[in-house]
């Protein structure tokens, strides 16, 4: 009996304009960890072997093993490793619930400024924000001033791609005026 074939949310090749690239990130395990009341500390202790701790609001914590990003009220997403067993938390698989898009390059902030109602001056490395990508839900993680990882609902992947591409093409056309 053949195994079922996994498919990416989009399966599109990266797209580059104005030296800025939009790419679909490879599948990663994502586990939602929502500590039960008063348990955030014990979660941090359990994450210690991964060199991670439960992140404060609007932050992610990165280690050689993986990343854990604040993803909302009393909730964080663990990227990469499996969640430690027996956490005093609700643990839910979210790996397939999101499309992950990487936006990289000198115009990345300008692209976000067209779709995300966030003050990007606060977008320093290590930040993770819950906000909106135009009309879609968004978790955005800042790896670098020019490197952003965007998560939105997997079923909306095409719209997200399309809107990011539109924003970038408008910026590219503006840059063409100066050139």
């Amino acid at each position: 009996m053949p195994d079922l074939i996994a498919k990416p949310a989009l399966g599109r090749a990266p797209m580059t304009m104005a030296a800025t690239t939009l790419a679909e990130a490879a599948w990663t395990r994502i586990t939602s960890i929502a500590p039960f009341p008063g348990q955030a500390g014990s979660i941090s202790a359990a994450l210690a072997p991964l060199d991670l701790s439960f992140p404060p609001a609007n932050r992610f914590v990165q280690s050689a093993f993986g990343r854990i990003a604040w993803s909302g009220r009393e909730q964080a997403f663990l990227f990469g490793p499996e969640a430690p067993p027996n956490l005093a938390a609700a643990v839910t698989d979210q790996s397939d619930a999101w499309v992950m898009l990487d936006l990289t390059g000198p115009q990345a902030q300008a692209v976000l400024a067209r779709l995300v109602p966030l003050d990007l001056r606060a977008a320093t490395p290590g930040m993770a924000f819950r906000t909106a990508l135009n009309h879609m839900p968004l978790l955005v993680m800042v790896d670098h001033a020019q490197v952003f990882r965007l998560l939105t609902f997997r079923s909306m992947a095409r719209t997200a791609w399309h809107e990011l591409q539109d924003a970038l093409s408008g910026i590219d056309a503006r840059l063409g005026l100066k050139a």
């Binding site: 009341p37 955030a40 404060p56 609001a57 609007n58 604040w70 909302g72 009220r73 009393e74 109602p117 966030l118 003050d119 606060a122 924000f129 819950r130 906000t131 909106a132 839900p137 968004l138």
Partner: protein
């Protein structure tokens, strides 16, 4: 219009869902008289001035927030989570 979400910081109004008066926090007991439920669900002080109402940071941390604000000037006086606890 911007609300200073206690978890996420100042955010544009479009990230939030508005429910209504903070009266919704004071749910009558199950056996309360019909009048108590009428007051809870329908009747409002509806002040032209400072009021307290409930907002939901739907495109954000998903916290329900109690907001003190002025309905005439739109000045926002305070924003606090309805449920305590960590972010």
């Amino acid at each position: 219009m911007r609300l200073n979400c206690p978890h996420c910081g100042p955010r544009d109004r479009r990230e939030f869902y508005y429910y209504g008066s903070a009266d919704y926090l004071n749910r009558p007991a199950a056996d309360a008289a019909l009048q108590a439920w009428d007051d809870y669900l329908h009747n409002r002080d509806n002040p032209a001035g400072v009021t307290q109402d409930l907002w939901y940071h739907e495109q954000g941390c998903t916290a329900w927030l109690k907001v003190k604000r002025n309905t005439v000037t739109h000045e926002i006086l305070s924003v606090e989570p309805v449920a305590g606890g960590a972010a």
